[in-house]
C-alpha cells in the first residue's frame, strides 16, 4: 500500500535530474545548455582533427558538454552542479562546498589565484630558447611591440561599447594572444567576468593556428613571402651562461618595474634559468608532468566553467567581438612591423616574420615558417620568428604589468 502511494507521487523526471532541470529552466537557459553541450562535442571533434589545439580542446570540450548536462536540483531548490562553484566567496560556505564539489579544491587553490597560469608559464620558460632573442634583440622587440597593436586599439573600442576600463583592459589582453596572461589579468582586474573572458581567449587562441595563415596570404604578396633571409656573418652561438644571465637580469629588472606581474615574470624566467643552469631533473619535471598536468587541468576547468548560467552574461557578445578584433588587429600590427623592417632593410627582410610577434608560443612562429616554406622551401626564417615570439611573451607580460598597475 505504502509502495503504491509512493508510486503515485513519483515523478519520472526526478529520476533524471539533468533532464528535469532542463525542462524546468527558462527557454534561454534551455537553448544555451543544449548549444553548449553541442559546442563541447564540436570542440572535442575539432581537437581530434587537429584544427584546434587538442591538448586544451579535448578536456575543455568534454567538460563543457558534461557540466551543462549534469545540472541538478540542490537541497535549497536552486539549480546547480557538484563540480565547482566559482562564485562562492564566503569562507564557511567555501569550506562546506569544498567537501562536496570535486573540482572545487583545484579551482580554489590553483585557478582562482593564478597558480595554474604561473605553472603553464614555467613550462613555456623551459621550452623557450632565448638564444634567438639574444642574437637579435632590437628586431625581435620591434616586431613584438607592433604585434601588440590589437591590445592597445581594443581598449578605447571596448570602453565605447560599454565596458569599464578594467574589463576593457582584460579583454584587450586577448590581443597579446597569451592565454595564461589573459587569465592572470582578468583575475586581477575583472573578477566578475573573468570566466567568459578566459573562455573567449582560449577559444580564439586555438584559432590563431587556423586563421593567421589567411591573414598572411591576404596582406603579403607571394613574392615577398618567399624572401630568403641572408646574413652577412653567421650569428655567434649563445652560451648557457649568457642565457642564464639574461634570465636573471630580465627577471629582476621586470619584477622591479612591475611587482604586480612579478609571479608571471618569475615563473617565465625560472623556467629559462633551470634549463640553462642544466638542472635536468627539474627541467624534465616542469616540461613534462607540470606543464602537461597544468594544461590538462586548465582545459578541464575552463570547460567546467562554461556552464550556461555563468556564460549567459549580457556582455558575452561584446567580449566575443572584441576578442576576435584584438587578435586580428595584433596580427595586422605584426605584419605591418614586418613591412617596416622590410623597407628599412631595403627589401631584405621577410615581412611574414612579423606575425610571429604575436606571442602565441610557438604557434605563430610555426605558422610563419609554414607559410614561407610553401612559397620558397629554401627560406628558413624560424630563428627570427622564434626570437620575435619570445619577445611577444615578454611584451605581453610588460603590458599586463602596466594594465594591472594602472587600473587595479
Amino acid at each position: 500500500m505504502m509502495n503504491l502511494r509512493c508510486m503515485k507521487t513519483f515523478n519520472f523526471l526526478d529520476l533524471f535530474q539533468g533532464i528535469a532541470t532542463l525542462v524546468d529552466s527558462d527557454i534561454t537557459i534551455f537553448i544555451a545548455r543544449i548549444s553548449l553541450m553541442l559546442l563541447g562535442m564540436l570542440l572535442v571533434y575539432l581537437g581530434k582533427k587537429g584544427v584546434l589545439e587538442p591538448l586544451l580542446m579535448v578536456p575543455m570540450g568534454l567538460g563543457m558538454a558534461a557540466i551543462n548536462a549534469s545540472v541538478l536540483f540542490l537541497p535549497d531548490g536552486s539549480q546547480g552542479n557538484i563540480f565547482v562553484d566559482p562564485l562562492v566567496t564566503d569562507t564557511n560556505q567555501l569550506m562546506n562546498i569544498m567537501q562536496i564539489n570535486w573540482l572545487q579544491p583545484i579551482y580554489t587553490f590553483t585557478f582562482s589565484n593564478g597558480l595554474i597560469a604561473c605553472f603553464v608559464f614555467m613550462g613555456i620558460g623551459v621550452l623557450l630558447d632565448v638564444g634567438y632573442l639574444i642574437q637579435r634583440p632590437f628586431t625581435s622587440m620591434f616586431l613584438a611591440f607592433f604585434a601588440e597593436l590589437g591590445t592597445f586599439a581594443t581598449i578605447p573600442l571596448a570602453t565605447a561599447m560599454g565596458l569599464n576600463i578594467r574589463e576593457a583592459a582584460s579583454i584587450a589582453m586577448v590581443g597579446g594572444a597569451d592565454g595564461p596572461m589573459v587569465l592572470f589579468t582578468s583575475l586581477m582586474l575583472a573578477k566578475n567576468i573573468f570566466v567568459p573572458i578566459t573562455v573567449v581567449a582560449y577559444l580564439y587562441l586555438g584559432l590563431t593556428y587556423g586563421g593567421y595563415p589567411y591573414l598572411i596570404r591576404l596582406m603579403i604578396p607571394k613574392k615577398l613571402r618567399g624572401i630568403k633571409m641572408e646574413q652577412k656573418t653567421p650569428p655567434k652561438p649563445v652560451s648557457s651562461s649568457a642565457k642564464l644571465a639574461f634570465a636573471v637580469v630580465m627577471c629582476t629588472v621586470l619584477c622591479l618595474l612591475f611587482p604586480v606581474a612579478g609571479p608571471l615574470f618569475f615563473s617565465l624566467f625560472v623556467g629559462v634559468a633551470v634549463k640553462e643552469a642544466g638542472l635536468t631533473h627539474i627541467v624534465e619535471f616542469i616540461s613534462g608532468p607540470l606543464l602537461y598536468g597544468s594544461t590538462f587541468l586548465l582545459g578541464l576547468l575552463l570547460g567546467i566553467l562554461c556552464e550556461a548560467h555563468l556564460l549567459l552574461n549580457p556582455k558575452i557578445l561584446t567580449l566575443l567581438f572584441l576578442g576576435i578584433l584584438a587578435l586580428l588587429i595584433s596580427g595586422i600590427g605584426g605584419i605591418l612591423g614586418g613591412y617596416l623592417l622590410y623597407f628599412f632593410t631595403g627589401g631584405k627582410f621577410n615581412p611574414v616574420i612579423g606575425i610571429a610577434g604575436v606571442s602565441c608560443v610557438p604557434s605563430t612562429a610555426k605558422v610563419a615558417q609554414k607559410e614561407v616554406s610553401k612559397v620558397n622551401k629554401d627560406s628558413i626564417i624560424l630563428s627570427y620568428a622564434i626570437g620575435a615570439n619570445i619577445c611577444g611573451v615578454i611584451t605581453s607580460a610588460i603590458i599586463a604589468g602596466l594594465f594591472i598597475t594602472l587600473f587595479k
Partner: protein, 79 residues
C-alpha cells in the same frame, strides 16, 4: 571620458615602447658582455679596478699629507 581613455591608451603605448626598447638595450648589453666574449668580465678587469682604487687612496693620503705640510688644514679650520 573617451578622450581620457584614448589619452591613457596612447600614453601606455609609448611607455610600452620605451620599456621594450629598454629591454632590448639590456639584452644587447648582456650579449655584449658575455656573448661577444669581451674580456670585460675577466678577473684582470677587477684586479685593474682594485689597483685603481688603491692608487686613489695612495694619492689621497699623499694629497692630505701635502695639505697638512702646507698648513692648509688650519686655514680651513679658521674659516
Amino acid at each position: 571620458m573617451m578622450e581620457n581613455i584614448i589619452g591613457i591608451t596612447v600614453l601606455m603605448f609609448f611607455i610600452t615602447a620605451l620599456i621594450s626598447f629598454g629591454v632590448a638595450v639590456v639584452i644587447k648589453f648582456i650579449a655584449f658582455l658575455i656573448v661577444s666574449q669581451k674580456k670585460s668580465l675577466d678577473i684582470k678587469y677587477f684586479v685593474k679596478l682594485y689597483r685603481l682604487y688603491r692608487y686613489r687612496s695612495i694619492w689621497q693620503t699623499r694629497h692630505l699629507r701635502k695639505m697638512r705640510e702646507n698648513d692648509e688644514f688650519e686655514m680651513y679650520e679658521n674659516i
